[in-house]
């Protein structure tokens, strides 16, 4: 099948495993039909089809696998994602892509890399994290700051804590508030994500940050990042829009004159800071 067709017709896949992460979020591992592999760059997205429901843009949460599987971390949010959450292993879905630009991993070489994830934003950043860990020697330092609403909805926590023990990753976790039990979680701050940046000083031009999270996260985080010394050019934001086609036709995802699905979803802060309604 030629590339343009892959872009417009979903290929079939089966749900191989479903790992419930929280009450409303699960990790779906899909096996593509016909030993097909699915190369992508961290930060790119796919259009996932749930038959009878429709299509949603999702960023793979893992690295491209050689065995033709792909891992998607999906929160139950509405129409299509609810249907997906009702599926069982073995059920069929469709997938098309990858779309968008992805994170500029080459530009991160030699830098102090900061990953900032809010809530579900950890999904694409997990993919980036894996990539950077695999090419750890290319960058100077690697820090992941991850904020969740409460301890119970913190995704991949054990996995992240374990990665942190290797010493190649600095991990800072925070929750907006503690669970009802009131018990403090070990290794976890209480407070909003930007608070983790308070007082941090980075070397301008030698540091960069990748941010992904709900719309509300961006404004305050950017201010803190700028204060910390990260250049506008080096702040990468992954934007969410309602992408219907993924190939720049349906027009739902325009940010100013940029199309989020083709020229994004990852933009540098400098590129979009003057666009009204971008953030």
């Amino acid at each position: 099948m030629s590339a343009p067709e892959l872009n417009s017709i979903p290929i079939s896949a089966r749900i191989q495993t479903i790992r419930r992460l929280t009450a409303d979020t699960a990790l779906f591992r899909l096996q593509l039909d016909g030993d097909r592999t699915f190369p992508f760059i961290p930060g790119q997205f796919v259009q996932l089809s749930v038959p009878g429901g429709g299509e949603v843009p999702i960023s793979p949460a893992d690295l491209p696998a050689v065995d033709g599987t792909i891992e998607l971390c999906v929160r139950r949010f509405g129409h299509v994602t609810s249907l997906l959450h009702r599926s069982r292993t073995g059920d069929r879905v469709g997938i098309r892509g990858p779309f968008g630009n992805g994170f500029p991993v080459d530009a991160m070489a030699g830098k102090d890399v900061l990953l900032l994830a809010g809530g579900l934003g950890i999904a694409p950043l997990r993919s980036l994290l894996f990539h950077l860990l695999r090419h750890r020697s290319d960058i100077r330092s690697l820090t992941l700051m991850y904020g969740a609403r409460e301890p119970a909805v913190m995704l991949f926590k054990d996995e992240l804590l374990e990665l942190a023990t290797t010493g190649s990753l600095r991990l800072l976790l925070t929750v907006d508030f503690l669970s009802d039990t009131g018990q403090a979680e070990p290794a976890c701050n209480v407070g909003l994500l930007p608070a983790l940046l308070k007082g941090v000083q980075l070397e301008p031009g030698r540091s960069c940050a990748a941010v992904c999270g709900p719309p509300a996260l961006y404004r305050c985080t950017i201010d803190e990042l700028l204060l910390a010394g990260v250049a506008e050019d080096d702040i990468y934001l992954s934007l969410e829009r309602r992408m219907k086609c993924g190939v720049g036709l349906c027009c739902h995802c325009a940010v100013g004159q940029l199309l989020c699905c083709c020229e994004g979803p990852v933009f540098s802060y400098r590129d979009i800071k003057n666009i009204p309604g971008a953030l």
């Binding site: 009878g52 429901g53 429709g54 129409h79 609810s82 249907l83 009702r86």
Partner: protein, 251 residues
Amino acid sequence: MTRPSLAIAGLTACFGCQLTFLNCEAELPTLAGLFDFTYFPMGSSRREIGGEFTAALVEGAVSTPDDLETLVRLRSRSRVLVAFGTCARWGGVAAMNNHLSRVAMIESVYGKGAGPTRSFNPGPLHRFVTVDFSITGCPPEKNELLATLAALLHGALPVFPQYPVCTECRNRECLCLLIERGEPCLGPITQAGCNARCPAVSIKCEGCRGPVTEANVASELEVLLEKGISREEVIRRMRRFYPEWDYGQRS
């Protein structure tokens, strides 16, 4: 997979929404096999509101204690409660005169001191219980009903258009009755989904599907007043299926 069980019931209404179900002639035999019609007095003599329903499709406005009782019983036994049709969704024709004295209206029909005593101003379902989904229309459209039923089979609910009748009217290349004839067409503020049935036969939209989410009510009023239609007439027409418009609403 177990067959989803359905309740289809009517409150204060004309039975048109339930008839719309029975009007799915081509699909009815299939539907009979796909769902368990546990409670559907119009279509079946099995009439106990017993166990659990996957979904209850409730037609009509609430205007009597009996209506309310049926509604509450269905609500408490159903996973999904669907307001079925304009009366259930918006109040419908029976509610158009809710601004007038009900006692006086009853007297005008039945005479002084006579007539039914136990009834109140008809209101939509959501005034009394939580409604999960609605299929609007007086009558509702078959295809929307079938799409809902198909989605229910998958444990989902469908997505319906959020734009006004005008969009469909233009898509069908009908004459714009508002611009070309100066008629008080309610297309601009009415929820689409009927494929502009009325303008398609050169009849102004009477708004039978209720307000579109994004109605610029104030501007529609201004346009119609400019065309020389009295405010009283516009409001009377607008009230026909939904008595609670916000006439100052712009978005």
